[in-house]
């Protein structure tokens, strides 16, 4: 048996899914956490059932891609039973979807979630009357507090599939139209969908080709006849029924004038304080992870790991195995792993902070605050959420672009996400900043994140100007109530992402380290393949590859083949860049100085400006294999995919080139260049502003810069209509 979990975004579906199946999916407090469907087995010893967690939808008429998944699932009746999760504290809008689902004859159970909050507010919902009115079982639950889950499972176990549910009846006028359409569609549910959505609904119906034009004609005729806009007739009828029903079952507490969410929002989205607080929060996240505290924890952790690995290495040496084996273990495996795993604490702090922001509901506020700023770059505030996840890992971030409403938004956002510095790139900055920039290390790290964002934003503008001229990203978003992040959930989130990192370290990265070890410790000496000693590494296979490619990288400041090889290994996974440097500079087992084993080797081989160019190149170049495949999946076009890869490579090279070439100039020259370019930019800006002012005579709109749709003819017509209406109102 297949059971689908359907409900509004952020209604608590994933939490309930975890309770019903006993699995550990992470949950966030922003609409659109579930972007792909997940399935699991129902915890029941009486029946065998598969639970499918579908993306949240507000309605069966959908505009975004992930909503399409859920709604097609219903329209094609792919499940035996629906569990409709309804957020009790947002009954009116949640029941809208419930009513749409009730138009079908699919068996259904309603899980009324958040009943604990209703009780806490001293309110009352008469769920038994609700059950009677809808003619289906209604189970009050609290998914987060694990209340009522057993009742829900029992209700599923004893569900009576033989009973036909009585369908929702609308007023006579609406029913007569449904009947007219149903003569041709022969399916009440799809006729209702046709009435509401028009032609799109026919994709799921079996209508003969000769009936289609008749239906379209009928639809157009109805459009003329109806007093209300045709797409509003059914929603209106439905909402009227819902309001009547809520009147009977819901006893509201009128004493509550201001909720906790209101109070928090008064500060966090305050007119003047909102933006500084936002910037402050973002800065503290990075300060926490990469500032003194994060560095100190990392140092302690690295010291522990080094002690542990040194112990194992001594053991291996004592066993007297063949030199190949002991070299593989000490240099290949532990050399790489030690360098990577050492950065786990910093990553965990970063993941933890992001998890708290997600779970509390602040992410949606961030989108609300940032929308205006992002709009200038052709993005919407909603793009901000995937980009923020991108600071953790590009793979879920690219997948999360599915929550965006338009294809152009999705493409632009996924193309720029790789520039947002992911968690795996953090160790690279960590080791360079720690070794070479000691005191200002977290400022250097922060500057990398800013550079990534800057390139991302400039690229977005470029893409919009060049390819998606007509695109203007949409924004319409619900602000969820704030929730206190639970320890369990925050930990789940943090652990989920850290686990990915560790698993990668143990699998792909390990394999990469072994390959790199082989290539770097074996070579042809006098035409014979043999294990090399440390001072012979230059003759290894890797040495040859690195040396061959080095001239290509000299202009951006690389002066040593291990640097080239480390960059190459980054295409497997960014985490391995540091590990590879560790192997190639043979630093394992060295004295631990300042907490990190690699620092002396870095100091010996890099100048500050070389290191900065190296970091910038690693940041901007093609992401790891996992992210590349996610890109391929989401862009859905080989052309765009290849373009993105080439573009990223070129940008990385160009930026690193600029950094190194300018950085290598004497400081006097640098200041001259900085000063001149500032003046030039200032003058250009002023000239532009002057031209703008002269040209902004196109009526009452606030200049074409803020409203990109201004020039479109349809929009003008629109504006005229509205202006007419406006003057009517004023008279």
């Amino acid at each position: 048996m297949n059971i689908a979990l359907i409900g509004n975004p952020n209604a608590g579906k994933t939490t309930l899914f975890n309770q019903l199946t006993g699995s550990n999916q992470s949950v966030g407090n922003w609409p659109g956490v579930t972007v792909e469907k997940k399935s699991g087995k129902l915890k029941s010893d009486k029946i065998e059932a598969n639970i499918i967690d579908l993306p949240g939808i507000y309605s069966l008429s959908t505009i975004s891609l992930e909503e399409e998944i859920a709604s097609s699932y219903v329209m094609d009746r792919k499940m035996d039973l629906i569990i409709n999760i309804v957020d009790a504290s947002n009954l009116e809008r949640n029941l809208f979807l419930t009513y749409q689902l009730l138009d079908s004859n699919i068996p259904m159970v309603v899980a009324l979630n958040g009943m604990d909050i209703i009780q806490r507010n001293e309110e009352h919902i008469d769920y038994q009357s609700l059950s009677k009115a809808l003619d289906l079982p209604v189970i009050p639950i609290s998914a987060s507090k694990k209340i009522g889950i057993d009742d829900l499972i029992k209700a599923i176990e004893v569900f009576d599939f033989s009973k036909e549910r009585k369908l929702i009846q609308y007023n006579e006028m609406v029913e007569s139209y449904i009947k007219v359409f149903d003569n041709y569609i022969k399916d009440r549910f799809l006729s209702i969908r046709f009435f509401e959505d028009g032609l799109v609904a026919l994709d799921h119906a079996k209508v003969s080709e000769k009936d289609q034009p008749i239906l379209i004609e009928l639809y157009n005729k109805s459009k003329e006849e109806l007093e209300l806009d045709i797409d509003m007739v059914l929603p209106d009828a439905r909402y009227q029924q819902i309001i009547n029903l809520i009147h009977q079952i819901y006893k509201k507490n009128d004493l509550i004038k201001e909720t906790t969410t209101d109070k928090i929002d008064k500060i966090l989205t305050h007119k003047y304080m909102g933006l500084p607080i936002f910037i402050g929060i973002m800065f503290s996240v990075f300060f926490l992870a990469f500032g003194p505290l994060g560095t100190w924890i990392t140092d302690q952790f690295v010291w522990l790991i080094d002690e542990f690995f040194a112990l194992i290495i001594r053991l291996v040496d004592n066993l007297g195995m063949s030199p190949y084996v002991s070299s593989l273990i000490t240099r290949g495996i532990f050399g790489g792993l030690a360098a990577v795993v050492g950065f786990l604490p910093q990553l965990m702090i970063l993941f933890f902070a992001l998890a708290i922001l997600e779970d509390s509901g602040y992410m949606s506020r961030a989108a609300f605050i940032m929308d205006r700023a992002l709009r200038k770059f052709g993005l919407s505030g909603k793009s901000f959420i995937p980009m923020l996840i991108g600071f953790g890992c590009s793979v879920p971030a690219i997948t999360a672009t599915r929550t965006l409403d338009k294809d152009e938004d999705r493409k632009i956002t996924s193309m720029i996400i790789p520039f947002v510095s992911c968690g795996a790139k953090a160790p690279i900055y960590g080791v360079f900043a720690g070794a070479l920039f000691a005191r200002g290390s977290y400022i250097v790290v922060f500057s990398m994140y800013l550079l990534g964002l800057l390139v991302a934003i400039l690229s977005a503008i470029l893409f919009k100007k060049l390819f998606f001229k007509s695109a203007s990203a949409n924004y319409i978003m619900e602000l969820p109530q704030y929730r206190k992040p639970t320890i369990r959930n925050t930990w789940l989130h943090t652990w989920d992402r850290s686990k990915d990192f560790l698993i990668k370290a143990g699998t792909i990265l390990l394999a990469a380290f072994i390959i790199i070890w082989f290539l770097s410790y074996f070579g042809l000496v006098d035409g014979k393949l043999q294990l090399l000693t440390d001072d012979q590494i230059g003759q290894s296979f890797l040495g040859y590859i690195g040396k061959a490619l080095l001239p290509l990288f000299t202009p951006i400041g690389f002066n040593d083949w291990p640097q080239t090889v480390a960059i190459l290994s980054g295409f497997v996974a960014k985490e391995s860049v540091v590990g590879t440097l560790g192997i190639l500079y043979g630093s394992t087992g060295d004295v631990v100085e300042n907490g990190s084993a690699l620092y002396p080797a870095i100091r010996a081989n890099f100048t500050a400006i070389q290191a900065y160019s190296f970091m910038a190149f690693s940041l901007l170049a093609i992401p790891c294999i996992a992210a590349v495949s996610a890109l391929k999946r989401e862009l859905k076009s080989t052309k765009w995919f290849i373009f993105t890869l080439v573009y990223e490579m070129l940008v990385a090279y160009l930026v690193a080139l600029l950094i190194f070439q300018i950085g290598s100039l004497p400081s006097g020259t640098i200041f001259t260049i900085l000063f001149t370019s500032t003046i030039v930019i200032f003058v250009l800006l002023m000239v532009r502003k002057f031209i703008r002012q002269k040209g902004s005579a196109c009526g009452s709109c606030d200049g074409c810069s803020s409203s990109s749709a201004c020039g479109l003819p349809q929009f003008k017509e629109f504006k005229e209509n509205i202006d007419k209406e406006k003057s009517k109102d004023e008279n």
Partner: protein
Amino acid sequence: MTLQDIVPGQTCIIKAIRTNNLRKRIIDMGLIIGTQVYVKKTAPLGDPVEIIVRGYSLTLRKAEARTILVERLDTE
């Protein structure tokens, strides 16, 4: 007047929706002719606006608010 003209703290009733590309979403979120809307605040940068409709909080851009015709309700 349009929803954009409503000052935060005021309530209005929807008269017509002329939005083109987000129309369906706006209707499904519960904004229909006759629906009461309370304008709560604008974002720190002046746009989008936050409105309370059907008991929950929705944010939309002024560009969309401009396409929703409303009538002000003078409560209190």
